[in-house]
């Protein structure tokens, strides 16, 4: 252990502000990138759901127009 007390650890020999600021910002950036990936997945889920709904609407319309035998091919 390089520090005698927790107080000293926080102060970092007078450089506490710089050390903790850089660690905090680093954490923020990494968390941001990870969060962006998670949000991206959510967005994809939404897009996929919209795509599905549109496809279902289309197939329903087709069902009404053509015979059900045609539909089962899909």
């Amino acid at each position: 252990m390089a520090f005698d007390s927790f107080q000293e650890f926080v102060q970092m020999g007078g450089y506490g502000f710089y050390v903790w600021l850089s660690f905090f910002l680093t954490f923020l950036v990494i968390a941001g990138v990870a969060l962006d990936a998670l949000i991206g997945r959510r967005r994809l889920q939404r897009q996929s759901r919209t795509l599905q709904r549109r496809r279902q609407r289309l197939s329903k319309r087709q069902q009404r127009q053509s015979s059900p035998v045609e539909e089962s091919k899909r």
Binding site: S22, L25, D36, G40, L44, Q45
Partner: protein, 249 residues
């Protein structure tokens, strides 16, 4: 039927592989980063010249190294995409670039914050910081080029070519320390036989390096999974993975 399906089997297999590996990488990232950071922040001795401010090294150096490592990886993917026309390699470029840019940004502002107590100003036009800034511009250029085209494949190829061209800049970045002898201290661990850093400080640094490498890979994997899904959104496997598959009726 099979001939039609075959080319599409590949992204799915890639996705399954990445999906299986990601938890392991994430766990290893967490462990190594935790060990590296706690060791570096609390247990490594303080530097006789720089005091405790040197502890920024445990994020500054790893992020700087893997900002370049990510760029190199992106260029390798670019070569694969251009030579063998593999689509998954093309899709990896938009997965790698933002992560690499984030690493570059971390290296930049930790360098600046470290510079404040050491040099007295936030920003010094020193060789390595400047090179990191150029690297950030390169990342921005690759991303802007990728998204500039209506056709994603053309955009990916253009970005791949630019990434390869930019790799020529990486040696310049690496040797810039020798070329422009400025305020920045010399490279710390280029020579493993006689490192200019004490062993008690070196070990946590090596662990942090491992942690940042795994972190970069994990973040790229997360984004890469999304890219795979994005391009295969109309395929049943992607819908199954996303849990939006058509209910059987």
């Amino acid at each position: 039927m099979w001939r039609w399906l075959h080319p599409y089997a590949k992204p799915e297999a890639t996705y399954r592989l990445v999906d299986k590996l990601l938890p392991w990488f994430a766990a290893l990232t967490a462990v190594s980063l935790l060990v590296g950071m706690v060791w570096g922040l609390a247990f490594a001795p303080s530097d006789y010249q720089q005091g405790d401010s040197y502890r920024i090294i445990y994020i500054h150096v790893p992020s700087a190294i893997f900002s370049m490592g990510a760029y190199f990886g992106m260029a390798v993917m670019g070569v694969i995409a251009l030579v063998w026309q593999i689509k998954t390699a093309e899709w990896s470029i938009p997965a790698i670039a933002p992560v690499g840019a984030a690493m570059t940004a971390i290296a930049l502002f930790t360098g600046a914050i470290w510079g404040k107590p050491m040099w007295g100003t936030w920003w010094v036009w020193d060789a390595r910081l400047t090179s990191e800034l150029i690297l950030l511009f390169l990342y921005v250029g690759v991303m802007a080029l990728y998204y500039a085209f209506d056709d994603q494949r053309t955009g990916a190829k253009a970005a791949a070519i630019l990434a390869i061209v930019g790799v020529v800049n990486l040696p310049i970045i690496h040797y810039s320390v020798e070329w422009w002898n400025t305020l920045h201290q010399g490279a710390t661990i280029t020579k493993f036989e006689r490192p200019s850093i004490a062993t008690s400080m070196l070990w946590p640094l090596l662990i942090s390096l491992l942690g940042f490498m795994l972190l970069t890979i994990s973040l790229v994997m997360m984004r890469f999974k999304n890219e795979l899904l994005r391009h295969e959104l109309h395929r049943p496997w992607a819908q199954r993975v996303l849990g939006t598959a058509e209910e059987s009726h």
